[in-house]
């Protein structure tokens, strides 16, 4: 779905709020936002980038046009004659989000739990391309820090293109903001948005 939003004449944060509402409500694949000042251009571009859209801007007279396409989405099939001849995309992959809220797997023996989480993180690659987001919250953020037994694995996953999101509030709570070695620091809105967009959410 595509939408064009006219945010001219609005001061920040109104353009970004308008964009946020449209993106969240309609789950847009592509969106174009027209603004008339540099500040709104920067804010809207940042917001869309943060929401995993690829963003390009053009300047026309006194206006800026921000065009954004959701990353990873297939190009919307607009009914052009030549497109109808192409074979349909078969077996669409599902998007799996894994939410890890602990640094030990299961309840019972902590020693065992710590070993199990190491094994879990190392084995999770078996999900292949369908693993779409790995989100670490609460004690889970401790897996991303210097000295964690799985930090090398997580770095390798990230290099392979997996998006790893790490809860900023949690890092701050534990005083680990500086110690984090891998993943993007994120916030609850982004985590909730990821949950909404995922086809399957697995809680650990």
């Amino acid at each position: 779905m595509h939408k064009t939003l006219d945010a001219r004449g609005l001061a920040c944060p109104a353009p970004v709020l308008m964009t946020k509402e449209a993106v969240e409500k309609d789950g847009l694949n592509t969106v174009e936002v027209i603004v008339d000042n540099q500040a709104a251009k920067e804010n809207v571009s940042r917001f869309l980038g943060f929401q995993q859209y690829s963003v390009s801007t053009t300047e026309e007279e006194n206006d800026y046009k921000i065009f954004a396409r959701r990353q990873g989405d297939t190009v919307e099939t607009i009914a052009k004659p030549e497109n109808t001849l192409q074979p349909p995309i078969s077996g669409q992959k599902q998007k799996i989000m894994v939410l890890v809220a602990t640094d030990r797997l299961g309840v019972g023996d902590d020693e065992l739990g710590k070993n199990l989480i190491i094994s879990f993180i190392k084995t999770i690659r078996e999900m292949g391309d369908e693993l779409w987001r790995l989100v670490l919250v609460n004690n889970g953020v401790k897996l991303t820090i210097d000295g964690s037994p799985v930090v090398e694995d997580l770095i390798a996953y990230e290099n392979d293109g997996l998006t790893i999101l790490v809860c900023g509030t949690c890092l701050t709570h534990f005083g680990l903001l500086e110690a984090k070695q891998v993943g993007e620091t994120t916030n609850m809105l982004d985590i909730v948005t990821a949950m909404q967009l995922a086809d399957k959410v697995i809680n650990i």
Partner: protein, 324 residues
């Protein structure tokens, strides 16, 4: 903008005016006798958060701050209220004024009156009067080469308030930023009086770099800010990355960008935080480097827990702020 409007206005000259409206300082100062100068200030704004009691606390802390920034002691205050009584009713106003009173009591400042009008848009603030010994008056001019720069509160309240408007901030974040904005600069002001502080201001609407620019302008010095050392609310970095930067931050930047030299590795997000307009921000002060660490520790011990040494004053260069 106000500068241009006021350019033609010519107030009565008076040799007792120590700081007048031409100085763009925090408050006006008038000499009463050899030992006493009067400080007067006024500040009011529209609600920035939903809770009326907290809005009262924040607005009072913000109004009192100008007196503290000059090294003064606030003594009396008057309420300024513009209020849509029909729309909002009595209870909200009562809560706002009670919040204000709480802060005035903490500041040992007495409320001696006020003025209210009916208005479609709610505004609340105070006019505060205080005293200072003329020889211990701090203004925003006076930095000297070799000074260290100290900031007593973290930056980011403008960005977070923008995110609150967008419904993005968590209740914990709202609580944290509310308490920070309601925190008086009283203790910080008292502490700095026992150190050789060269200049001081409080960080408000112009943001850190906007206020620093006023302190540097026309003084033939240049300052260097170490961005890594500047205390910042982590949530502000998150929200700035998501595009919740208030229009004021962009205005502050376009107004002062020719004075500010950013190192290439400073992210646009950090740059926006440095220009973020603050509500009831901390004190920014200079003192000779050899006293800075002790002063910083003393400020932290007296409750300004986020205090940090954020940069230094260099001799060379004219009116330049380097961000590294």
């Amino acid at each position: 903008m106000l500068n241009r409007i006021l350019a033609d206005i010519d107030p009565l000259p008076d040799s007792r005016v120590l700081v007048g409206f031409d100085k763009a300082d925090d408050a006006g100062v008038y000499l009463l006798d050899k030992k006493t100068a009067l400080i007067q200030t006024v500040d009011f704004f529209t609600p920035i958060i939903d809770d009326p009691y907290d809005f009262g606390r924040i607005s009072a802390a913000n109004a009192l701050s100008d007196i503290y920034a000059m090294g003064g002691v606030p003594k009396t205050a008057m309420n300024i209220v513009a209020y849509p009584m029909q729309k909002l009713g009595k209870d909200i106003l009562r809560a706002v004024l009670s919040g204000g009173i709480e802060k005035l009591k903490e500041a040992e400042t007495v409320l001696i009156g006020g003025h209210s009008i009916e208005d479609d848009e709610f505004k609340y603030g105070l006019s505060v009067t205080g005293f200072v010994h003329p020889q211990h008056l701090y203004t925003n001019k006076g930095f000297r080469p070799g000074d260290s720069l100290i900031l007593t509160k973290p930056l980011g309240t403008g960005i977070i308030n923008t995110a609150i408007k967008g419904g993005l901030a968590s209740p914990e974040t709202i609580l944290k930023v509310t308490d920070l904005m309601a925190e008086l600069n009283k203790n910080a002001s008292e502490v700095m009086k026992s150190y050789p502080v060269t200049a001081c201001t409080d960080i408000t609407g112009f943001g850190l770099l906007g206020h620093l620019a006023e302190m540097v302008l026309g003084t033939d010095i240049c300052v260097t800010i170490e961005s890594q050392s500047v205390p910042v609310l982590p949530e502000a970095l998150e929200f700035a990355a998501m595009g919740f930067v208030p229009a004021g931050a962009h205005r502050n930047r376009s107004f002062r960008q020719e004075m500010v030299k950013l190192a290439p590795d400073i992210s646009p997000i950090m740059r926006d935080v440095l220009f973020d307009p603050q509500t009831s921000g901390g004190l920014l002060l200079g003192c000779p480097a050899k006293h800075a660490v002790e002063l910083k520790k003393h400020l932290i011990a007296k409750g300004a827990q986020h205090t940090a040494i954020i940069g230094k004053v260099d001799g060379q260069g004219k009116d330049i702020i380097n961000i590294v």
